[in-house]
Amino acid sequence: MSIAAKANALWEYANPRKFLATSERVLPFFWITSLACICVGLIWGFFFTPDDYKQGSTVKIIYLHVPAALMAINCWLMMLATSLVWLVRRHHVSALAARAAAPIGIVMTLIALLTGAIWGQPMWGTWWAWDPRLTSFLILFLFYLGYVALWEAIEDPDTAADLTSVLCLVGSVFAILSRYAVNFWNQGLHQGASVMRAAAVTGTDTEEKVSNIFFYPLLVCIIGFVLLFIALVLYRTGTEIRARRIKALMARERVSG
């Protein structure tokens, strides 16, 4: 199959019926693998990794903190992408996927913030510090809240999809601006995002690395969170599609009845 044909085939899933049928088929796989990965990763990390010489046993928190933080940001990126698809191609499934993803993003942001605070208490000696990274996540959390509130407030589903999509675009720009602003405003305590850095993986960066022994279970956890995110988005998008169909059917009943 040529690339163009493949791309065309991808758009087929914008058909709600096809989306529902396909997601129903693949969902069990995602549920099972995601839960398996998270269980394996967390048990491995919790029971079978040593304590860090500096952070002690609190290092075990990264198996939750880092994947949740990654998903919190990637969830917003996914919403941005699906919002663009909705604005350009008018596929309802795309807009509904963005709506379905937002609460997942809220929970992920909340996990990242809470585990961060719990970790910060013994490490920095305070529950909360106005560190740029923490502050950015707090701002991201506010953006999520506004986005969800706007969806809830508007009755007409197409108008809601349009307005939230524009808000998502504008919000993304301002979220990035806020990130820079916050960085400038306070240089911060938080260590750099060392996990994904090549130096950390190869172990050459001795200063801020997450060494291999912690990295592999963390990787399993990240994969698990990604799979869980996919499963939740597919499942919740299905729910949104059905809710939207109920609304359309009821409206039609009113018009004809």
Partner: protein, 52 residues
């Protein structure tokens, strides 16, 4: 069973508890709403097909 977490046991255990509770709540809430909406849709569809 539980490894020695030293003086940070509270921090580690509470962050695991908080995260797992939040994740389970998210999944449970999603599934509950999903089931309900699915049932509602079937009801509405049946009513529509009966009434033409």
């Amino acid at each position: 069973m539980i490894p020695d977490l030293g003086k940070y046991a509270d921090a580690v255990l509470s962050s695991y508890a908080v995260s797992i509770v939040l994740l389970v709540a998210l999944i449970a809430f999603s599934v509950m709403r999903g089931r309900k909406v699915r049932k509602d849709m079937e009801k509405v569809e049946q009513r529509m097909s009966r009434n033409g």
